[in-house]
Symmetry: C2
């Protein structure tokens, strides 16, 4: 590997001059020498050793983010926002996947510290785990004590700058929507119980249901992984135990897609028999059938704001930016079916469809009801 000295030697100058030419120092260099150095660089295909540079230079040139999994669209979107702001400021973004393993998260904080990053962003739900939280805060505090900056997205535990999606209000929106559509027996397909995102969303949902005089008994909440297969499993369990359900709330869109898949496989019509509602508004939500009603979080913007927070000069008291959630009505929700049971059909009009079980999509239903039934 060619080094700066090699370049300098070949150009017949000192390393100092070579360095000055290569990274456009403010010190002037004669065109003659500059030319020689540049030629040597090209001939040797010289690339500066980034680690040596980092060691020699004072200022940090990278930032790090710890997410659960970048390939999860939720984090992919957030990362896009982070990336944009970091890129604008000429900083490199190192992405670390914790795969929801608290220990790995801790390790990654150390690793990023070791990399001398200018800032660490923690994206994704926190855990209900006092020991872990304390450990994490200690590590973050140590990092901040040496000038490191920290921002979190959607985590309560850290006392510094934060971008907080309003999961609770999002949950309320879901609850209100379903109540107004007349749903009374609502099941929840929830992510891991240890995640604050799960409990926050659930708490909001519960509040809204309570306001409408409904309850959400524990047996109608099923916890599983926050992904498609978790959604399948939890929905299956829910449906088996509570056949009279008219709505399924999934606590994120991936789970909702799993719920949709399971319902389709069981030939349950959505939304005629069961409504499904998701959370996050991932890009794919509009492309599943029926298009998913969900709660939108401006994920890219959340990422961008978190990075800005982390990169702007520190202020004495921590800033928290609450990000509003917004209900997006699509085709997977509809009015609750009448109390008369729909499955075993009560001898409807004979026709080609009579012998078939009801199917996933209901062609009779326009893509969006223009008038909605009044809340009961």
């Amino acid at each position: 590997m060619a080094t700066l000295s090699d370049v300098a030697r070949r150009a017949g100058v000192s390393p100092a001059t070579a360095s000055r030419v290569i990274n456009g120092s403010s010190k002037p260099v004669t065109d003659e020498l500059r030319e020689r150095v540049l030629r040597a660089v090209a001939e040797l295909q010289y690339v500066p050793n980034a680690h040596a540079q980092l060691l020699a230079r004072a200022h940090r040139t990278a930032v790090g983010v710890i997410v659960h999994d970048v390939s999860d669209p939720y984090f992919a979107e957030i990362t896009r926002g982070l990336q944009r702001v970091a890129g604008d400021r000429g900083l490199l973004l190192t992405i670390c996947n914790s795969y929801r393993d608290p220990d790995r998260e801790l390790e990654y904080v150390e690793l990023l510290r070791g990399q001398q990053v200018a800032a660490i962003i923690l994206a994704g739900s926190g855990y209900h785990d006092a020991t872990f939280t304390r450990l994490l805060n200690e590590k973050l505090a140590a990092y901040e004590a040496t000038g490191g900056r920290v921002a979190v997205i959607g985590r309560h535990e850290h006392s510094g700058d934060a971008v907080m999606p309003d999961n609770r209000t999002g949950g309320r929106l879901v609850g209100r929507e379903l109540c107004e559509l007349g749903h009374r027996t609502i099941g929840v397909v929830a992510g891991p119980q240890v995640l604050t995102t799960t409990t926050d969303r659930l708490a909001g949902l519960r509040e809204a249901l309570a306001e409408h005089g409904r309850s959400l008994p524990g047996h109608r909440v099923r916890y599983a992984e926050f992904d498609r297969d978790g959604g399948v499993a939890a929905t299956a369990a829910l449906l088996d135990a509570e056949p009279e359900l008219t709505a399924v709330v999934a606590l994120n869109d991936s789970m909702a897609i799993g719920a949709l898949a399971l319902l389709r496989s069981r030939s349950v019509a959505v939304p005629r028999e069961v409504s499904v509602i998701g959370f996050d508004d991932m890009p794919i939500a509009r492309d599943v059938t029926p298009a998913l009603t969900t709660v939108r979080l401006p994920l890219v913007e959340m990422g961008a704001r978190a990075m800005s927070l982390a990169l702007d000069p520190a202020v004495p008291q921590p800033r928290t930016e609450l990000v509003a959630a917004e209900l997006v009505r699509r085709d997977s929700t509809g009015p609750a079916p009448q109390l008369m049971p729909v499955r075993p059909r009560a001898g409807g009009p004979a026709g080609p469809t009579a012998a078939r079980p009801p199917r996933a999509s209901d062609p009779d239903r326009p893509s969006r009801p223009t008038a909605r039934p009044p809340a009961p």
Copy 2:
């Protein structure tokens, strides 16, 4: 930021001893001193400076990958495979998004070289661009000349180790399937024309059609971005120009999802009126409606194999691993409609559906026809 000297001073030992304790050197250290050092480390929350370590140590400890965009499921899957193998060997993976910008790709090669990575993986389609290819190969050669290892996924341009998805055969599978289903007028929703992935898949498709005595005139191929919105745009253009189309081939699944969305918005029944077929078999393909018929590429495995290739000791002659593509039949393809036009319905039986346009999902069609009509 605490340094090793700080630790050593606090423990009352030399930096050498502190270093030995901290990274378990083979040199023995008294328990007494070891204890003191460890305590100092804990008290100072010392984390070694990764860059200084890299500089001092001989061996490389990271690998890099350049993808078009990790948040694209195609690359997310590949990256997962890369990550797995790298992780198993205790190497860190640095991910770079080129966003399909050749210049940025070039820059990233330099950057990764500067980071002293042990290997560079180039994932994703190459370009039909001789200048760029030459430049890239020069940079890669320079990197390899200094002991760097390179592996590519799905790129012809590089002469070294490669994992090559059999895009051409995949294209043939698509063509054969559609021909056997009786389709004659087939449109293609293609990715950017400069990408070899696009042209390879297209070439295979053309071959298969030719073998069945059909042709694919240029005006039935529309090029757009390799994403959902590209799929929407290209499909719209295609449909407007070629209303008699009975099948749409999308050259990747994202575009296929866009095609599905556009067809749905135009109330064209899939697959009754138009069949849609994708490519890649991204996880979401099974969850759209109708579930997408597509060509499966074992993406995770491709990533894993590429990383193994790059990390195994170099061999004199480059290895190329061809990865087989496989057709996955789902619900978005079906027999070509009869030549009698289907849209303007020929006065079918009166009923509640008569006044409505045909809709995206056809409840009359079982999820998979058990017997397929013979090819004409």
